[in-house]
């Protein structure tokens, strides 16, 4: 099988993470010959979206790094050239402290006539019942939202990858404050119709929202807060509750966020309202990995070759230049190598910041009075914060009646304790299944040959700004003359056998 692959390429891409996949599509569009490999059987690595079975399997394999290094000598036979071989690492090193457990019975003995029903109510769920619909789950390892006017949306449109993906609005922008969940009024119509905001506060809130929206570098509004925090500015202009709304939910900041940074982040949020409905965010149906698979698909349309479940054991370097990849007993050669940080050889890989994550399956929404769909809840505490994303049945990520909850942030245990129940308390959503782990970002620490391009794994930001920036940067190094996702020339009309209709024919004459 290995021998079926051609041996030379313009670009070999190792790992199907977000940045790698965007680069794959961008490069392939310029006509370069691309080989895209992934050691896993699925797309996306730590960006993957998995069915429940695959997700459980992923959790079971846990943090065990199964990689055994073979030693450099084992590759010497691949080429006559004087090459130095660096063995790749396992992405599993990015995960630690992984625990998971089911909080419901293994199986409920089937009653006589009761047929299987998906929408069984709360306490009737069993592990078996849920596993039976494993394929209705699409669980993200690194869920991210798209700003309606953000760079990801722009690239999706420009590249036309958008036609492979469908989206939902994030309907409920929520905040946990004073021991309760509240809807955050973001737009003019929200402020107007929000019953929890009295008329004077409506004005104050609108005033702050409009001055943030009209902020430019020259605007004098915020100058006196230049060396103060965003919270200082907000508190000076709003009751504390609404100051928190804006700080944590709209600006996604914290108590130390400097004023100008907060204003810019809030402005970005606000300027995304109204493009695709009354929400600044979009969420891809079937999960985040749909995006990177869309880019991979486009790469394939432009003759990129895809090979999953295919490992590259070592990266071969000749002098100070990358030469090729040792894979399955052959040497695949290319001008450039694009590689995920998580797979980098140990000489080049270091561990960066980390964050706690949790994935829950629950039986009820955290905000039942909200609209069905996607909810984003900010959970601020005094010294840190958690971001909670809840998906309901119409996102195609979870069977109807159940919910997937994604939590990021170091205070997630507190959030879980306050928002969910492990059983007993019927007022809160019950946790049926939970998984917790710590996600470490891998960094490229050593000096790589300049034709190797390392790609970061998932960061902890909301949107894909950093990923798009990085992908463009890598693209520019590989194709310095080309525009990033230049519009395609119009497709030639499909040749038609029939002559033009007589009417048109006369017009042309």
């Amino acid at each position: 099988m290995s021998d079926d692959l051609p041996s030379t390429y313009d670009v070999i891409i190792l790992g199907t993470g977000m940045v790698e996949s965007i680069v794959a599509a961008a490069v392939a569009r310029t006509g370069k010959k691309v080989l895209h490999l992934d050691p896993n059987t699925y797309y996306g690595q730590l960006w993957a979206t998995l069915s429940l079975d695959s997700f459980e399997l992923w959790a079971k394999t846990g943090t065990s790094n199964t990689k055994t290094l073979k030693g450099e000598d084992s590759f010497k036979s691949l080429s006559d050239k004087a090459l130095k071989y660096y063995e790749t690492q396992d992405e599993r090193d990015c995960i630690s402290d992984l625990t998971f457990n089911w909080n419901i019975v293994e199986d409920i003995p089937e009653s006589e006539e009761e047929p299987k029903e998906e929408n069984a109510s709360g306490n009737e769920y069993s592990i078996k019942k849920i596993r039976d619909v494993s394929r209705k789950f699409n669980i993200d390892l690194a869920p991210k939202l798209l700003f309606a006017k953000g760079p990801m949306v722009e690239i999706l449109i420009k590249s036309q990858v958008s036609k492979y993906v469908e989206f939902l609005n994030v309907n409920n922008i929520l905040i946990y404050i004073d021991d309760a969940i509240e809807r955050v009024p973001c737009s003019k119509s929200d402020v107007f119709s929000s019953k929890s905001v009295n008329v004077v506060d409506k004005r104050l809130l609108m005033k702050v929202l409009t001055s943030i929206q009209s902020y430019t570098e020259e605007s004098p509004f915020f100058q006196e807060y230049e060396n103060k925090t965003f919270l200082d500015y907000l508190k000076a202009n709003l009751p504390e509750k609404f100051a928190n709304f804006i700080l944590y939910s709209i600006a996604a900041g914290d108590q130390n966020t400097p004023c100008l940074e907060g204003v810019q982040k809030a402005k970005k949020f606000l300027s995304c309202l109204g493009y695709y409905g009354n929400s600044p965010f979009l969420w891809p149906l079937y999960g985040s990995s749909e995006l990177l698979q869309g880019f991979c698909r486009q790469c394939a349309v432009f003759s990129g070759i895809y090979c999953l479940n295919r490992e590259v054991e070592a990266i071969a370097v000749e002098g100070d230049k990358y030469y090729g990849c040792a894979s399955n007993g052959i040497l695949l050669q290319s001008e450039h190598l694009v590689v995920s940080n998580s797979l980098l050889p140990q000489q080049f890989r270091g561990t960066g910041p980390s964050v706690k994550r949790a994935v829950l399956i629950t039986d009820k929404s955290i905000f039942p009075e909200g609209k069905e769909g996607v909810s984003l809840l900010q959970y601020p505490t005094d010294d840190s914060a958690a971001t909670i994303l809840e998906l309901s049945g119409n996102t195609c990520s979870v069977p109807k009646g159940l919910f997937i909850v994604q939590i990021v942030g170091n205070c997630l245990e507190e959030a879980i304790k306050n928002l969910f129940s492990e059983g007993g308390d019927d007022s809160k959503p019950k946790i049926l299944y939970s998984l917790r782990f710590t996600l470490h970002q891998m960094e490229c620490t050593g000096k790589l040959p300049e034709n190797i391009h390392a790609c970061p794994g998932p960061d902890f930001a909301t949107d894909f700004d950093a990923e798009i920036r990085k992908a463009e940067e890598i693209f520019k190094k590989i194709c310095p003359e080309e525009e990033f996702f230049a519009p395609l020339p119009p497709e030639p009309e499909p040749p038609s056998d029939e002559p033009d209709s007589p009417e048109e024919a006369t017009n042309d004459a």
Binding site: K188, V200, R203
Partner: protein, 527 residues
Amino acid sequence: MHGKAKVNTTLEEKEKKKKERDLKMKAYRLSMNKIFHKRKNGEYDEEAMELISDVLVSNPDIYTLWNIRKEILLTFKDKSHDDLACILSNEMHLTEICLRENPKSYAAWYHRLWLLDNMPYPDLEKELFLCTKYLKLDERNFHCWDYRRAVVARLQVAPSEELDYTTVKIEENFSNYSSWHYRSKLLPSVFPDPSGLRPVDEPSHLKELELVQAACFTDPSDSSSWFYLRWLLGRPTTNLGAVQAFLTNGKIVCVFSRCVCLPQPWIPYEKSRIIWTRPLHDEESEDEISFTIEYGQGLVENITIDRGKVWSVRPAFDPTVSPALMSVLCSTLDSSNQLLDLEPESKWTLLTSIVLMQAIDKKLYKSKILERLDLLIKYDQCRKNYYNDIRSKFIMEEALEELDMASEEVILSRLSLTSLHHTHYLAFASVIDLSNNNLKRSLQLLSVLINCKELILDANALETLEGFPALPSLKKLSLCGNNLASSETIIPFLKNNRMLQELNLEGNKLSPSQVESIKKELGLCEK
């Protein structure tokens, strides 16, 4: 292609566009000629229909063509039911295409409505559904709101359902006159006020005020919600009733609070139906007259006039307000004041607070009202005349309420009036002093001064007497210190004041000889 500079496209494009336009024009002229020719010959056929629709699709506003279409359609009445249904449904489709070309085409919208009334079985449910869909795409197209109302009337949709719909639309975007307006039409029929004092019953009134206040605070610069608030707070019409009655020149004069219709022998004075007169009956003595007036809906008034005196009712321009409404007004004023602390220059808030203060207690708030009117004039210079007129009305109402109605002499000088209001309360007065104001216009309103013998308009800003009425009793008119500058601005308007004996024009921009000739022409020679 990418990386290639654009060259000469503008010139080429221009040329190309012009050619295209010429071609279009030619085709258009040709079609129009054909259509008119066919109509002349009475050729009301499919071909004519096709010619017309071809033109309409790109020019949906030619209502002549829509009308010719209607003529032709009416000749199709004899066709089989199925044929006709098919034709009419195509016709509906045509209006759809045209509305896509111009969503605000009056003619296309009207044609669609006409079709509904001329179709054997119009699918009104579908039309309502389409309206909802359309208003989702463009919630402020008032044509579609109009059409919706027409469809709703034919379908007899419950007003409460439509009211709910406007609530949804307002919550989506309250900057929407059409939606608020529709609400103001629906509410009174869904929640009529048994007392007749408010536009809607009390609970709904309070709820509406809360809703519209939320909008006002969210965006004080959006006028649509303020207009709606004004409608909600709007002063109910003054109670109808006689306000003055007196004798003059052997006639009974009766003045009403507003226009009224009286049976014979009452005759309306001038054209306004606010003052009515009737000759004394033979048996009536001028010493003491008692009479009864009946005016519409069983209203009856018994009036007694003593010799040489006036029967009168003290003017009241502000209706009594129920305690519940009063508390709403007060809390609205409170929040308006809070809003003004935040937005001191918000004109809608200033204006509304003035309306509220007038309704609550205009005497108490007098200085605040005047102060805020000054602010409005300062912040909104373009409408300063409007604000000045509001001030004049406010001041005049106050002055009239203070006035001794039995007095023959009325002094309304030094009040900075720019306009006149409620002048019918001055009908009995024989000497009226309006000097030292800023009057420029609204002289027509003097026409009710049926008893006025001496009128003083000194030191105003009159540039012309245009609109000055013919006053039956006027003997002395003083116009000193105005800006009158020529005889053309005076003579034509005083000619019909046949009783006039004295005219003072000092201190105008007129030479002594001009003054002389004016007086001469009017037949007023110095005695």
